[in-house]
Subunit: 300 residues, 4 copies
């Protein structure tokens, strides 16, 4: 692989340097991008400085001179505030700037923001990721994108600095929709596994043997293969947090409600995750949903 | 592989020659077993005769002289009736006979039957299968067994005449439990896929692209890979029937209720399958659950 | 009201002298009926003797000479066993006998028993009750009956000895169906109240004020009026037991499944009652379902 | 009752003159209040003029000189826009003004608005109503209020011009919480009735007789008494619209999610209402949920 030609790469601003943003910034720099970063948290800025990143002391300073602005923020209101708020950057970006929002937020939210930016000649691509902190560090995120073909084409080289699978899912917002569908299935698959395990255990069966037996057949899932062992070992520590899973299930539920679509399976999974969090599992991995079934059978 | 020594093989009686039993009988005969078969349906007996199978004209005649009796029947009451009913064979079987029930029935039902047979010195193994008619014809069923190690050891050579994966799941009834857990996951996974597809479509997304995107990751499942294309193509014809899926979900629900275990995900999936059947999908493949979501969005 | 003419009253056998049967027997005797009673429990028989009741020492002895046999038993298998089992009374009853089964059991179960008895010229009425132990003691049960008009007409004077509201719901089994519908609504109404209370409390509201505000309007229910105060006072002791509520919800679920009818509201309520029982609330009143919501918000 | 002293009554502005607002304005005028009204819809203004109401041609003109501002708007964003938006009235109101928001909106939404107004010395009471258009016309609304005791005391005389039951539920937002709890119970009670009716009908029972039998007992509800006859008669026309019921269930679901509270009964009822609306029942009365059960049994 030859050295990237630095001169041909767009100048970046990166907004949001949390546990995901920080390693994503590191990988973009490794890929040769010049970037300025900003986060409203002083601690996050300090981390960036210790990484050698050029840090801006305001949103406005961060985006000054940027060809592409990348945002990686917690939820819809944060993205609205950064891009359209009173002190936001929407009005500062020159025509022709591309914004890539990599946050996981509402599909209708990102579409509304896109309409506003489009009226100022600014392009927007939504590009939520899967792969977690591990994928962010390894530069191996899966990135699901929505936006015009032209905007996606401009975004792709930047995204390739952070991930290995870059999908153009459709128009603006469709990256969010694909992400939601992913999370809906993840949530329900975990519940399916937990219910099968709970039934087998209540009937006196061996969970390891059950998992091995079911894994290759019609009941097989990534979850059964990859999180099944942790569920059985009662290892709740690792993986995707229940807090975050709940946020994603909420986004899916809202997107379904907006379209008048009843999704009772999603509703039940959401209810179970809420129950798990109410019992203090919020910062555990989403396989900790099994604790809820544990409590039912006094086998915790 | 050398020719099996016919003289060393146990003499079999096979009760129940429906769409599953008939090819299972054919494979046992190919494997060298001598067997007599019985079914209460004259049409089924006629089929067997045309296959060249030795047919008995009563349950009693079928089991006379048999070392091992195999039953493959629709539901719990049929197995109770054949083994313990007034005209049943339970009292006819000599001590040391092995009964292998390959029907998918209630775990507590098979355990109760086993207690009764044990008091007469007759062994019982429950051995429900997965793989469907196709697997039965190919002799490639997966067979999940419950029973004592000794009974399982005696049953295994017979089962190897019909399947390729023979699992000893645990004590009597555990074959049924494993089968239920399999079907619970199958049912909920299909619902998860249908809900993700319905959400994506309502938001304007491309289902083929969604499926390809999700397949390799945390949302991946055998269902998404194998039945996803049929769902998208609206091909409801093939696969495991909704009628039968409902029977299996009912068995799982009853087994959970007996243990006082709430399984809300299973309850929701059962509700959706009932809805699909109420709309006339009973004899379609279980991917036809998607029609229920179609109706909701008037895209059928 | 004049003294009943003892000579004109049918001779009764009463099978099943538990917490309900015992006071029902007492009221029938007060109403002037001659009766012999039987229960398989020696302790129950002892209670009857201390009440001055004529006790039979076998089922057969109890029903000898009876015009009307009343059964009050725990569940479907008990009724099947007493009426149709090997040592049961079905074959002992002369043509023209009337059986009144007051147990709460499966509608299809009682219909099957009725077909069998009808073939012997014995009439059957199903007559499950509501009103609980208190209603049984006061002789103020509500009794929902199924059977032919003729059989119901014969049963009515006996039933009037135990209850004040005697409804002819329809053909055999319809008493059970009405009872199930009652219990379905009871179970879901309690859940509705618990969810409203849980939401109000989580938002910081006053439950007594909420109850008073909602009681007279569109959200009003017998439950809100009568069990609401106990829920708020965390008095789980009195009322209809969760164990029994679960039995009735199961019967309703089975009756719906038999007709291919999805009832997701019933399924959810059943799930919640199972959860409550799994947490040890089985012998508490059904308002103890609120403990499940307590656990979710750590306010127990 | 003596004539109200007009001079002692506060001057009102009334924002929002839809099907509810218009008769509420009429009743306030009848009660002697001087008021100016505004609605962004020209047709609504024309209606007001034909009623003889003093109409303002802008929000600002409507509130000029008002002691109390009443708002009656469709949903949270409309209230946010009118009170806090760019062209909103929040900054125009002098210290000491009282705002009474009678819209049904989010509890957290109204609390946030209240914080903003409080910083400007403006009081806020939330006062959602029940009783529908009929209650609005008759001046017999039930009004559930949240706010400080002082603000409530100031609001009461105005509210008494529109309703007969005025409840002080608690702090700001608690009116909304009580309203949500009401609607949650309404929605689940209708589902409970529909499921009981569906079960009874599938089993061959008579719905009118069932309703009469259950009405007085533990399964009794306002819904069974008042909407039961319409459900049975398949009269979907009157009552509270499914569209509006869904909005209220959504508000309840969001308020529960904010507190991390799983409410599976609410989730199921919401799912069923969505299904009903997806089948075109949105503008029918909420008893039209029974059509969903009709479809399941092909008895529509």
């Amino acid at each position: 692989m030859t050295e990237p030609e630095v001169s041909s790469l767009p100048a970046l601003a990166f907004i949001g340097a949390g546990v995901m943003g920080r390693p994503m910034i590191a990988n973009l720099r490794k890929a040769g991008f010049a970037l300025k970063a900003y986060d409203r948290s002083p601690a996050a800025l300090e981390n960036l400085r210790s990484d050698g990143v050029t840090v801006a002391d305001s949103l406005a300073a961060a985006v000054a001179g940027a060809d592409v602005v990348v945002t990686m923020l917690p939820d819809t209101p944060h993205v609205q505030s950064v891009l359209l708020g009173e002190d936001g950057i929407g009005t500062l970006l020159p025509t022709g700037t591309l914004v890539i929002d990599m946050s996981t937020i509402s599909a209708s939210g990102i579409r509304a923001i896109g309409q506003d930016l489009a009226s100022r000649g600014v392009d927007l691509v939504d590009a939520p990721v899967s792969g977690g902190v591990r994928g962010a560090i390894a530069g191996e995120l899966s990135i699901m994108c929505g936006g015009s073909p032209e905007a996606f084409a401009k975004a792709r080289p930047v995204l390739e600095g952070m991930g290995t699978t870059i999908i153009h899912a459709g128009d603006l917002g469709m990256g969010q929709v694909f992400k939601m569908c992913n999370q809906l299935m993840v949530g329900v698959h975990i519940q399916a596994m937990c219910e099968a395990f709970a039934l087998c255990r209540a009937q006196g069966g061996d969970l390891n043997l059950l998992r091995e037996t079911l894994m290759g057949g019609a009941a097989g899932s990534w979850m059964l293969e990859n999180l099944g062992p942790q569920v059985i070992a009662k290892d709740d520590s690792a993986g995707f947090r229940i807090d975050l899973q709940l946020k994603d299930l909420r986004l899916a539920g809202e997107a379904a409600f907006e379209k008048g679509l009843p999704l009772p399976g999603l509703a039940m999974a959401t209810s179970l995750y809420l129950e798990a969090r109410a019992h203090g599992e919020g910062s555990n991995g989403n396989q900790a949903m099994f604790r809820t079934y544990d409590r039912l059978t006094n086998q915790a």
